[in-house]
Symmetry: C4
Subunit: 208 residues, 4 copies
């Protein structure tokens, strides 16, 4: 239960920061810095409690890698999605519904970029936060958070740059992307997480 | 006494950097990067001496968590508030009184956002700088400083983004926010610190 | 083989991020932050597997320093160049061929700046990721990634700021620089790597 | 001798990056990020060799703190000033002499701000890189480099933001500040370093 609460807190601040920095007046072209930073700090705060996933695709990757029970996987995902919805509601309360047409992404490019950076994100998580070869390090939060920073700068214009189904739910509820596009995130992000788990196992055969 | 001097030095540079980067000509939209960075470096410098709070709400959180005596709590707060006032005076000497109307925030949104990020800040402090599960890490300053960076980008337009009663005193003295709003910071920031202490204790039952 | 795959993954995301952030609409003046960050996170993820070079000049430097076999040197370089070409192809698929004239650099200034920051980059790698005096540290990825960040801001206008022959191949394939200039990168970057290896050996006589 | 060469390398890249990012076309308002980053990476690379000062005021502070011999103090300062001059020459070769009037600062404000951030910088160095209470940490380069980042954003408009006599020499040779102002840096920066050494000793009585 403490672990699910921690996942709620972390995912809440992540999605809340996404909404507050992306909807104008927000952080402009520095929004990805704020988003990557808040993910980093929540991982540094909560990693010792829950692992600091805050992302259903990451939880799936850790499950595939063999470091999360199926019960925890379900509890984490429930907490993360609820947090995304609650954060979206608070952003809308504070900012009002944004006066813009929700983005509709080109499907193939969006699938590719969401898959690629969800894979990168989950691969960085597995290697920096669950691998024997990096155990005891002090960089895992920085590595994970700044993967999202780089990804949003790189492909935000193609797919919004969620890499996280709970973020996808949040930005859809906020009216930033259309409901017609949410399946892109779900498919591509979970696929990225699963593939990251498999690639990790293949590259770290002695650590599974 | 050495600890209170360290708290004075850290809070002074924090509030001084806030004023110098926020009042034009300052750092523009990169002010939060400078502010988060100076907090980070002062924590890395002074953490081993005083704990590196530089924030009365953080000191309250550490007190609630059980890692600060009441005598130190009082001494720290006095040093932090004096530092905020001295820094504000020096900013005004260097820049002159800013030619702008002090901000008056909408009360409920400002209370919410100051509470949320003061909670986040204090929660990150407790978990990264006082928890058994993260002892010996090298990231506590980065985690704490960049929480402020993310928070100012996220909610600076709603409440100014102090998350710190000593900063609130400083920016009020500098004429950036109105005296009529200072209670918002005091109430919301101390509440955030106290709640962070209680949540930490609930999530870390074996570490209190 | 796992090591070469890791080098492919890291170099792919580096060159992919270069293209996606540099070609408009990209990350504007924050592209170097994204590029330095993605290099950092891939090093933190893959350093324990392959060393995390993602750069033929770095691999050459590590070889000269005596910490890479000639077989690995060749496998790494092949993987890195293939990754650069694949990433360039995907960028072109997602963005189309950029409507600009490939840059032609002034030869002597470009040689100097590509040499200098390739030297800096490889020197930072050798000292932060292979030296006895810094073993076990948690900063190597940050140090290496942000060397590129600083270098692109410093000399991007003079030479594009590759410091990496695989990146040079990628940006040439993307039409950002001309084929007539690619020798500048190859000569200057490999020279920077080799000199860094020699200087490391001279400054660390007890660690070779 | 290896130590002096390391100090030359680090100070060279610091002053070179200052010139290349500050003189247009440079890094615009992100110059402080590049400058703080290059200082950070050179400290992470060279700290285990020379201590990673790259700044005569820092060397003075470490001498006052009792961790540098007078012979090394002199050798370091000579190497740092030569590096500043060589870097300035190369910047002028690459960019030409900038078409602007060298800045003449208001004396008292410039003395205050150069003193304050040179003190902060040296105080951070002493506590993060020479103190028993933080030995073995992985953050010293980040702490020191980002002190300069914060300082340049905070007071660059008041005094240029050198905090380093070798940087002051470099920017004076580059025509960014006037020869009539160089004494301000020398006096304020060395005073900041000396005071930092004394304050460190007062606050760390068991560690001198």
């Amino acid at each position: 239960m403490a672990k699910a609460i921690m996942e709620f807190i972390g995912a809440f601040f992540l999605v809340f920061t996404v909404g507050m920095t992306v909807i104008e007046p927000g952080a402009g072209n520095l929004a990805p810095l704020a988003i990557g930073s808040v993910l980093m700090v929540m991982i540094f705060a909560g990693g010792h409690l829950s692992g600091g996933h805050y992302n259903p695709a990451v939880s799936l990757a850790v499950y595939v890698r063999g470091k999360l029970s199926v019960n925890d996987l379900i509890a984490y995902m429930v907490a993360q999605f609820i947090a995304g919805a609650v954060a979206a509601g608070l952003v809308l309360f504070l900012k009002g519904f944004p006066a813009l047409t929700p983005a509709v992404w080109q499907i193939v490019p969006a699938l590719i970029t969401e898959f690629l950076f969800a894979f990168a994100l989950c691969f960085v998580v597995l290697n920096s936060a669950t691998a024997r070869g990096t155990s005891g390090n002090s960089f895992y939060g920085l590595a994970i958070g700044f993967t999202v920073l780089a990804g949003v700068y790189a492909v935000g214009a193609i797919s919004g740059g969620a890499f996280n189904p709970a973020v996808a739910l949040g930005i859809t509820l906020m009216g930033l992307t259309s409901w017609a596009s949410i399946w892109i995130y779900l498919v591509a992000n979970f696929a990225g997480g699963a593939v990251a788990g498999l690639v990790f196992r293949a590259l770290n055969p002695d650590d599974v």
